[in-house]
Symmetry: C2
Subunit: 352 residues, 2 copies
DNA sequence: TTGTAGGCGTTATCAC
DNA sequence: GTGATAACGCCTACAA
């Protein structure tokens, strides 16, 4: 009935060896005679010692074995986004080689209204490294925190500036391909349904492109604008079917100005736009063509197969994991830019 | 160009105060005169000190602010399961009040083939508490590790035995309802498409019910058997549409023995079974009725609305979070059993 | 309000 | 192969 949990010293004492020897038995860093080893293990067993306290070990080692994954949004929202889901999958693979675990974190700036200092964050979590995801303006802030702490950082889909490895896509070029495809089909009145313009954005028309702080949104829009310089753009509040639906309703509201094609910046948005079209009595692709982005499987899109850009989401995560591992090993990690693959489905067709 | 990161002592020295005073400035545990406070903060700024090292702080405090979430499967698979996704959402809410973050962990027993001791696990992660999810046989092992470490633990969907709070569903009773519904419709030849029987299970017919180590699977099957004692059961290798498809093909292979109704233990499996039915030229629900379980939105199920049991997935997560918080506060947490709601869709109908 | 002292549990280093 | 020693960086009684 000891009042506290046994420590490695207790074990060592019981086994009749020094603490350092006992430590070595558990870490395996140095050879130990089989006899000693046995005695230590037995002592541990009889004392109910289950191994070194990770807190103490990580203080001593300077490593916690934890990689933070910073999401801008509410975690639930992150899980609901199929692209992020795939990325996490790859990321968990990527850091596994490192022997690290993933700690889910929300961005600081999102933690409004919560009790001061109670949240465990970028500032207070015992991280070996951090991966910032799907970033934007928030990025600057989180990045500042992390770099100030001297923690290696990798950014996925966002620009972090000098010396920060970033894993991204050829967003602009890819989106341009989709736009070209539409132009080839004869479309001229094209509208864009964009991802959020910045954190906390409410949906609405994008007035000035310069106000866009989210890199992905800006780049994809730029790609579309290369082909259709005057295409109006309506930004959603997030990558959800419902947001696409709302945006679509807006686009199809006035028959006179209705576009013959819509470039959605994500598959989920595209799915919503298609629903809005159906709602408005428009056929896809006969009356209106729709393109997506991501190449993920979408809910209830049944008869349709989106014309979209397939991105290697899981690969991005894996690459980020490897980059982190490299940095932790003292190497420098290079930025990587993945390429999207255009895939034609049945949601685009010749202009009516 | 100091060779190492500044510590709180460095800051204190620079500010001309004692380390403890500096510490207090950062923790806010005690009042500090505005002047001292300023000086300390200034010193910190000039030294590039970004706050207490979490590793040291957590050693000292005995708390890391991290709650482990243990998945049996590959993390990616967990993310692909909508039920788990919802649960994580609720869980992240639930522990937020605690000021803790979620560390994603894979179960020990699943880590086959990886380098020995390199993985950060239940054994080595600095956890304040753990939540075991969607458990089964693995549970015993993980549980042993965690309890041996003296870490508070909560189990979602699984039996952990004495004194371990568990968050679950009325699986058996709920599944019995669906079965009754089918019998009311006149069905007699009913088959069950079950969730995995144990970790690492390959799909196949369940020979003996006693071999089922996964609680959810066993309970739901028991519920179905209350109404259809002789219903054959085919267990999938996971809760995926493709698995349901494979199972369905098996069920519909021999016309002579084909069931008129299928009880699937998850909505995803049900969706797959429906596909298999279509493939076999069977109409749903005219030729074969199908019930699901979970009440989540399913991919491409378009014209169908599953007859299913809606479970409060997010609530379960939230409850687990609260339970963890309670235990950490020294209170005892009670087990909770949520109730599923039967929802009739258009995938069940009278026997042909 | 501020300072002093001691230890949280481990492990790296180096000598034996 | 084993042991003594010294941090790792912080926090919190308790004393002043």
């Amino acid at each position: 009935m000891s009042s506290r949990r046994p420590t490695i010293s207790d074990v060592a004492r019981t086994a009749g060896v020094s603490p350092s020897t006992a430590s070595v038995v558990f870490s395996g860093k140095t050879a130990v005679s089989e006899a000693t080893r046995r005695r230590v293990l037995d002592a541990a067993g009889s004392l109910g010692y289950t191994g070194p306290d990770p807190r103490a070990a990580s203080l001593r080692r300077g490593r916690s074995g934890i990689v933070g994954v910073v999401f801008e949004e509410h975690l639930g929202a992150a899980f609901l986004d199929p692209v992020k889901t795939l990325m996490m999958d790859g990321l968990s693979d990527g850091v596994a080689s490192l022997g690290a675990g993933l700690l889910l974190l929300r961005d600081r700036s999102v933690q409004t209204g919560s009790a001061v200092g109670s949240e465990p964050t970028l500032t207070t979590a015992p991280l070996d490294a951090a991966v910032l995801i799907g970033c934007s303006g928030m990025l600057r802030e989180s990045l500042a925190v992390v770099t100030a702490r001297g923690i290696p950082v990798v950014v996925i889909e966002g620009d972090a500036g000098e010396g920060i490895p970033k894993i991204g896509l050829d967003n602009r070029e890819a989106q341009r391909q989709a736009a070209s495809h539409l132009r080839t089909l004869g479309h001229e009145r094209v509208a864009v349904v964009a991802l959020p313009v910045r954190a906390g954005w409410e949906r609405g028309w994008i007035a000035a492109d310069e106000t866009i702080t989210v890199d992905v949104t800006r780049e994809r829009l730029a790609g579309a604008r290369e082909v259709f310089p005057d295409a109006p753009a309506f930004a959603a509040a997030g990558s959800f079917i419902d947001e696409g639906l709302a945006a679509g309703r807006e686009l199809f509201a006035r028959p006179a100005s209705r576009p013959t094609a819509v470039i959605a910046q994500s598959d989920l948005l595209a799915a919503g736009v298609i629903r809005a079209a159906e709602e408005a009595g428009l056929r896809v692709p006969e009356d209106v063509s729709v393109t997506g982005f991501d190449g993920v499987v979408v809910d209830g899109l049944a008869p349709y197969e989106l014309t979209t850009l397939v991105q290697p989401a899981a690969e991005k995560g894996r690459a980020a994991g490897h980059a982190v591992a490299a940095m932790l090993a003292g190497d420098t990690a290079a930025s990587i830019r993945f390429t999207c693959v255009f895939r034609e489905g049945n949601t685009t067709g010749p202009r009516a």
